[in-house]
Amino acid sequence: MTQAMDFETDEKLKLLTDALRAGPGSPEWRAAIAEIQAHASAAGEDEHQLLLRVREHLASGRSYREIRAGAGFTRKVIEGIEREAEARPRLSPNANWIAVIAAVAIISVVAVVAFMVWPTARNGPGAPGDGGLERTKFVETTESITFDDSIGADWQTFGFLTLTADGGLKPMSMESSGGKDYRGGGIYWDRQIPADEPVSVEATMMLQKGSGDGVVQLFVTDSREFETKSATSPRELVVYLKDGEAKVALPDGSVVGQGTKLKDVKQNVDVRLAMNQKDAVVEVNQQRVWAGEHHLPADRARTIGLRFLVAGNEVKDQVSVQSLRVMQLEKKEGSALRAQDSGR
């Protein structure tokens, strides 16, 4: 099941997902069983049977976490509704219409004023532009992963350091090399984002006190040729946390934007990187750190990844990544390219 799956046009997948939703005993279920039996020798059918078995288990456990409202809960709801009904103003239909029209008029005026004023206010005089990313709405989550106990199937590891997912993604414990050379290791998302598709990547990272020898990076690259030791690729846009500070590095290696100082205590840091074909915006803990041209090639698909760099001392648990989410404008099945499709 490593090939890209097309849930939009593959009739067999549609049949299977219909059956998985409808459950045992449904016509969709019987049709799926018949289909699987008819192609008993085909690759992947064993997995489909296992899926149906899991679905049967869920049906058997349907009462799991089932709650019924008791008398106390119901009394509170009904009392609340009684109060709501008493408080509800008895408006005539005309009064309702007048109120609605007035509200729409007010909202319209506020929206127009906000539209005219907001971008200028946010960027400030002389601030780099964001290519409209500020107003871009990323509504479709195309990947969402927490690293509680595993690295997702759609993620590949690379580099020198071995990573583990145990209450967060982090480098495995290792003996001190005594040197100051950085050794790197990371993971990248198996799918690539076409350069012309805006994307927003949100990662929650954790810094422990005294994480000076550990660096954690969120990056976007146009290449998957990573150096073995440093685990870096030739051209990357990188947001990184180092020495209690968040910084941004462009593909030419230059560090841009204002470094954001982080508290020297255990804390979660929310990093957001939004980009389109030409521009990017970086936010750390909801504060904009940098916006401007990212200088990645405008015609090469991009890869999203996380990387750790370690120098000298043991850094296990000093830096980690708790979760990561990739959002796009809207779901385009197949728009994120599988690695094998792009000739990896």
Partner: protein, 236 residues
């Protein structure tokens, strides 16, 4: 067994204790009305109609919240807010939109807002809580025990239910809505504002993760739920 949303069978007046069936609601035309008809009456100020709506949907709404949030305290407060908002904003409901879709859109939005507020706060163990008025069924092994006499299957069921809690939220949501709440992909599409094809993918991949846990354990005898995905490459 949870009553399926939208069913009109045997309505019980809200506020009545179990077994108490107010005579004025027995087999009344109101009790046999569709959800949409009850909402039309509610829009005209009929509180009794809304009480029937509550009766039909309280269990599904609370169960959905508990499965998604895993926190009884939140379930109680949000559950109340769901029905208060549904009553308050009843005038915004427009036929022929399916009522359950409308109600679960409210429920989901409140759940998401709550999850944002509660981000990273520890979830209390339900067995430690004893809140008034809520009956819970939360132990997967007890649920599995009731489902079958086969010990091996019981174990598998319990593991699947426990593993469900570990799924990414978007995959878990599709399973909770589609499997536990019997929502169609079209309904889930409206509630989550996510395309059906994406929901199908989440359903597939979510169940595949659960299947891997079961399959992997049978083959390797490994500990449940802590295995990586096996995709790590060897590093030098």
């Amino acid at each position: 067994m949870e009553r399926k949303p939208g069913s009109n069978s045997k309505p019980r007046a809200a506020g009545a204790a179990k077994g108490e069936e107010p005579a004025d609601l027995k087999a009344s035309p109101l009790g046999r009305s569709s959800d949409e008809e009850l909402m039309r009456r509610t829009q005209n100020g009929d509180k009794q109609a809304f009480a029937l709506i509550y009766e039909r949907y309280s269990s599904s709404v609370l169960s959905y919240l508990y499965r998604m949030l895993g926190n009884v305290e939140d379930v109680e407060s949000i559950g109340q807010e769901v029905f208060l908002r549904a009553f308050r904003f009843a005038p915004t409901y427009r036929f022929p939109e399916k009522f359950s879709t409308w109600l679960f859109t409210i429920t989901r939005n409140l759940a998401i807002n709550n999850a944002r507020r509660r981000k990273r706060s520890p979830v209390r163990n339900v067995t430690e809580l004893n809140l008034e008025g809520i009956e819970v069924s939360s132990d997967p092994y007890q649920v599995a025990l009731r489902a079958t006499d086969n010990l091996e299957t019981q174990e598998d069921i319990a593991r699947v239910l426990k593993a469900l809690e570990e799924l990414p939220q978007d995959q878990k949501e599709v399973i909770v809505l589609g499997v536990f709440q019997d929502m169609s992909y079209a309904q889930m599409e409206e509630i989550t504002k996510t395309k059906a094809v994406t929901l199908r993918s989440r359903m597939f991949h979510g169940l595949r993760k659960l299947a891997k846990m079961i399959g992997g354990e049978e083959e390797e005898g490994s500990e449940f739920g802590v295995q990586g995905s096996g995709t790590k490459k060897d590093v030098p």
